[in-house]
Symmetry: C2
Subunit: 404 residues, 2 copies
Amino acid sequence: MAVNLPALDPAKLFPVAGVELSVAEAGVKKPNRKDVLVIRLDKGNTVAGVFTQNRFCAAPVQIAKRHLDAGVQIRALVVNTGNANAGTGEDGRARALAVCRAVADEIGCEVEQVLPFSTGVILEPLPADKIVAALPTRRAAGWADAAEAIMTTDTLPKAASRRVEIDGHTVTVTGIAKGSGMIHPNMATMLGYLATDAAITRPLLQQLVKEVADQSFNCVTVDGDTSTNDSFMLISTGKSELPLISEANDAYQAVKAALLEVAVELAQAMARDGEGATKFITVTVEGGRSRDECKAVAYAIAKSPLVKTAFFASDPNLGRILAAIGYAGVTDLDVDRLELYLGDVLVARDGGRNPEYKEEDGQRVMNEAEITVRVVLGRGEAAATVWTCDFSYDYVRINADYRS
Amino acid sequence: MAVNLPALDPAKLFPVAGVELSVAEAGVKKPNRKDVLVIRLDKGNTVAGVFTQNRFCAAPVQIAKRHLDAGVQIRALVVNTGNANAGTGEDGRARALAVCRAVADEIGCEVEQVLPFSTGVILEPLPADKIVAALPTRRAAGWADAAEAIMTTDTLPKAASRRVEIDGHTVTVTGIAKGSGMIHPNMATMLGYLATDAAITRPLLQQLVKEVADQSFNCVTVDGDTSTNDSFMLISTGKSELPLISEANDAYQAVKAALLEVAVELAQAMARDGEGATKFITVTVEGGRSRDECKAVAYAIAKSPLVKTAFFASDPNLGRILAAIGYAGVTDLDVDRLELYLGDVLVARDGGRNPEYKEEDGQRVMNEAEITVRVVLGRGEAAATVWTCDFSYDYVRINADYRS
């Protein structure tokens, strides 16, 4: 029951020249569902990524990082759902490599030129043999199919696409993502893959992947509070006519803007499809001394189970938001300077309830499916925005039943 | 549906000489329920407390701290439920003081000699007039009655008591507490009041209240992640025959041990009665370099909604525990040295699943109502324990319905 998340229209997802997608049903966890995606790349591409900070980072994450660091030309990414291959030690790495090797043999490249990704249950051996056996059975796919193949508890596939004109050349950006549990603090794995046909040097692409992640996917998850498998990959195929971008010039900014639009749409889609979500919530914190402290306050609100259950109940129990602001760790916060808005309604100021605030005004905003919480800290110029959802019975049901 | 939390037996709650309890029904939020408790103290007592770190600390917390800091003889504590008087600014402080003044007038003491406490909904004006009007209607109460009068979403009252012989003299310790939501991260308010007839100097009592809180109530909540109203007060009436304790001698250690037993029983009772709890979970982390890092790992496990929903489902989905350990913030953690036990079952070692681990062994432990998770970090001598509960449908129901 995702919040205002439309079904994908394959016609609106533009192919990216130099990227070839294919999917298979390997029966990793359950039969008869797409659970393997191969993203094959033409030569001449560059790839960059950011990965989970979790100390128990999964075997495929370790391998993907190592292969990226080797500096070789990447030729394929292979993604499976149904098993995270995490907490699996040396044996897990061997299984991830076995999958890479099978893909590499098919392409005729080195194993280091293939990047593996997994998502699903932790601490169970990856059935690499099933995945390898299914590789020859896979069929060509579009981005919508690809988005479906990487879903776990997502209720809808997530993809977004843009075509922009830059210096007279058409540039395409298309991406897919999965992840719905993660919008609550700790959680289910987020995977994101964005491809553009713009040509971008590897160092610049590495800078870009961090900047884009920081303003999109990292606004629905918590730095450090990442799952064992979180990964976000940026692919530049260089097939557009736009000349190679090797510095942060206007073309770079234009490509970045397009990438960011796609990434933000995908990140918001994750919150809209949060496990059990009935409301999409935007938390904006302004007037802070730094972006970090604004993010800390925004996350304290967005993560609070008490706040999130109140949203589920459409209950303007706004004291819970104030309490969350109070424990966000801004130790010298002057609560008397703070303003709290629910939608357009000024709820609290001068350290307490706004005397003009009426419960029915709060209730009106609470009844909506999309709600903005705005906090003005009154101590600086920085700001940050976080997207989240409410916290419902279904969150518990989904996570209590996940393995069964 | 508290986990193994028996109903109170008033006969096992020993009175503390010098403490006089009384309760009233003021109708603060709902009619016909005990919602005001007055703890009246004879002269000659000492009182010390620890309070929430929340920047939005409630009006009564501000007043109680100010009165304690004034160094005057405390003569009464007055507690109401149904309204937290938090986020209420200057008007909230005036209302808290009005309640103190009414109690002080009755006793014939100064307003600074009365400490106010409130718990309940945030951001609404305290109906101080109702409380003041109800004061003359209150009736003498025992500790069990007192424990009932401070309940909010608690399903059972919480009290504990000990009598010990120290240097040939009988010393009594009796306490009450409320708080059930707080065992999930961000919480309902926790209030705790422990009284002993041992005579202890104020500086020593202040040291004691911190030490006891750190090893009891602070093991079910998160430092800094406290509600607007959390308070834990220690009362020493000095009515026992044991000579005044003015240094940390053997008598001090014996009193501390008795206080700690009572406080731990109350703290565990809060986790047993956690909102929606069906299981009582003890998380012990050993072999850390510091108590702080052990606590961080224990809290990461105890707070994870994914871990807690798996406990609710009795699902040995133990990878979720490993993932929580991985994001606990111990950045140089070597996961290959770590051991994870569920009850007596070794689940993970060498960075992955224990080869001898069988799902049915994990399932056997998961089916129990009381479960211990033990993590051995393998990098030092420090340890920490945290108590929590599972995360059920009822948590959502309780917190979505709280105001209605």
